[in-house]
């Protein structure tokens, strides 16, 4: 069956079309993406890869043991995370069965290419770093970890040395250290200065901004990726705002594209230039959707970030 060509494009029309296309490509992209932009991504640790700014934590939320009902419920959360463009998932041997639950979910869903698996070594879990990583790989059912961190600096010298060896051997891709709750920042600073690490994980949220003083500028200067944990301060931040019925400021949408408190709190974190991603944890698909929406452009400007912090302070 033939399709007769009804319209022919003249040479003049083709040139006009090409010119218009080139002009469109030169337009600034951000305003066009306002409110409907894709998930924002950032480069990290000298890599060409980009990570989505919203990751997923597993502390408490993914420690469900062998309960089939809860295993399936958490698998749905992981599914939503990947469907919405998620990348980094962070866990630890300290989180009880969370690594096994990740293994269950990945087996059910298949391991997506976008997964950036982040684990930790933690002395009380027993065994050397190498043994812990091997065991955790089996629990996650993955071939390798993209990142292994020394949890809360426990025996960090021994563990970090072992992790560097494993990175050189290609067993793991990146190494890092973690802290939380603003603990041991001077030691973290010393390690960031003296050791060759790819990532640091620390607590950074709109009410805990100590890291802005020294650690975030240092990470920026040395090209170290930063993972922000406790973005909702263990859940208390968002719970308190909702309990008080605190309204979002009227300018929240216009200035930073925020429609919910999740948007407001997470966008504040991930819009800091030194932060690579935040790792909120949740047990619910709906909350996962809220979290992932917060990773979409537009992001607040430095002035808007200050206004956001002042507003929270005023509540």
């Amino acid at each position: 069956m033939s399709h007769p060509i009804k319209y022919r494009i003249t040479r003049r029309q083709s040139l006009k079309l090409m010119g218009a296309t080139l002009a469109a490509m030169m337009l600034p992209s951000v305003p066009l993406l306002a409110n409907t932009g894709g998930i924002h991504r950032k480069t990290f640790a000298g890599s060409d890869k980009k990570l989505p700014v919203i990751g997923m934590g597993t502390w408490r939320t993914f420690n469900v043991g062998s309960d089939p009902k809860l295993l399936n419920a958490r698998t749905e959360v992981v599914k939503a995370f990947f469907e919405l463009g998620g990348g980094l998932i962070d866990s630890s041997p300290m989180y009880g069965s969370a690594p096994d639950v990740m293994g269950y979910a990945l087996q059910e869903l298949g391991t997506p290419e976008s997964l950036f698996s982040a684990e930790k070594v933690w002395s009380p879990a027993g065994g050397a770093a190498r043994e812990q990583v091997a065991e955790l790989k089996e629990r996650w059912k993955v071939e390798h970890f993209d990142l292994v961190q020394v949890h809360n600096l426990t025996d960090w010298r021994e563990h970090l040395a072992a992790l560097q060896e494993m990175k050189a051997e290609g067993i793991i891709r990146h190494v890092g250290i973690t802290t939380s709750h603003g603990r041991r920042h001077s030691e973290i600073e010393q390690i960031m200065t003296s050791e060759d690490i790819d990532f640091v994980q620390l607590t950074y949220n709109i009410t805990h901004r100590e890291a802005e003083n020294r650690l975030l500028p240092l990470a920026d200067e040395r090209g170290i990726g930063v993972i922000a944990n406790r973005p909702y301060d263990g859940g208390s931040l968002i719970k308190n705002l909702k309990r008080r019925n605190a309204p979002l400021p009227e300018w929240a949408n216009a200035e930073c594209g925020c429609d919910t408190w999740a948007d407001f709190l997470l966008k504040f974190i991930v819009s800091h230039p030194a932060i690579t991603c935040a790792v909120p944890a949740t047990t619910q698909v709906e909350h996962m959707r809220e979290n992932m929406r917060a990773g979409h452009t537009p992001m607040p400007s430095p002035d808007a970030r200050q206004r956001m912090a002042d507003y929270i302070e005023s509540l």
Binding site: W59, R60, T61, N63, V64, G65, S66, D67, K69, L70, M94, Y95, G96, S97, P124, A125, H181, G182, R183, R184, H185, E210, G234, T283
Partner: protein, 220 residues
């Protein structure tokens, strides 16, 4: 920042309330109708203690402690909390302790007086553990599988045993036999408090009343 003062109770509880209460429910689902047997064992222990067969009464809760150690702590709770295995060993120790006390007769009150304050307190706590605790979850909107029962779940096992030792034992032996149940109730009470459950306050109230009985009962 001082590292230790920055810790909160929640930082030591590695699971959510949903997971913990599902764990209790799963115990109910898995072992029903064993509940009837363990409750009968608890009631028999109380009856024997009050009828002055205290040595035999001291022995009966022992297998229950071993059962909870294995099925609750080793097989399930330890999946969620690395410290769960250690608590399991403590429950095994309590089982062994009750056997040792039965065999040696150490501290056993052969004729507990039904009117003495520690015995009255012990009876009240035992009945609370056997009858009231299983009803608390269903009465507050939970399912019957969530009912916490002596011999199946850790809290009513500890509460009921605390009541029973107040009836059966005196002097130092009473304190020794009360240590593990009381410590578990502290741990469990704090856990429930961190999970925003009112159950924690109930356990602390039981502990406070038991402490009065312990002080009274330690005077031979």
């Amino acid at each position: 920042m001082n590292a230790w003062t920055s810790y909160q109770l929640q930082d030591f509880i590695p699971f959510t309330a949903e997971v913990y209460f599902r764990l209790l429910e799963r115990m109910g689902e898995t072992f029903w109708p064993l509940h009837l047997l363990t409750l009968a064992l608890g009631a028999a222990t109380l009856a024997l203690a009050l009828r002055h067969s205290t040595r035999l009464a001291c022995l009966l809760p022992s297998p229950v402690w071993a059962f909870v150690a294995v099925t609750f702590f080793f097989q399930r709770y330890a999946e969620l909390n690395w410290a769960g295995g250690y608590v399991g060993y403590a429950f095994i120790c309590q089982a062994v302790l009750l056997v040792v006390m039965t065999l040696t007769g150490w501290g056993i009150d052969k004729r507990p007086s039904h009117t003495s304050p520690p015995v009255v307190i012990g009876m009240t706590i035992t009945l609370f553990g056997l009858i009231v605790m299983p009803l608390m979850a269903p009465m507050s909107g939970g399912s019957w599988y969530q009912a916490e029962v002596f011999g199946i779940h850790a809290d009513p096992t500890a509460v009921t045993t605390l009541g029973l030792v107040l009836i059966m034992l005196r002097g130092l032996a009473l304190w020794i036999a009360a240590i593990i149940p009381a410590l578990w109730l502290v741990v469990s009470g704090l856990t429930l408090q961190a999970l925003d459950s009112t159950g924690g306050a109930v356990l602390f109230a039981v502990l406070a009343i038991a402490l009065v009985g312990l002080v009274w009962g330690s005077k031979r």
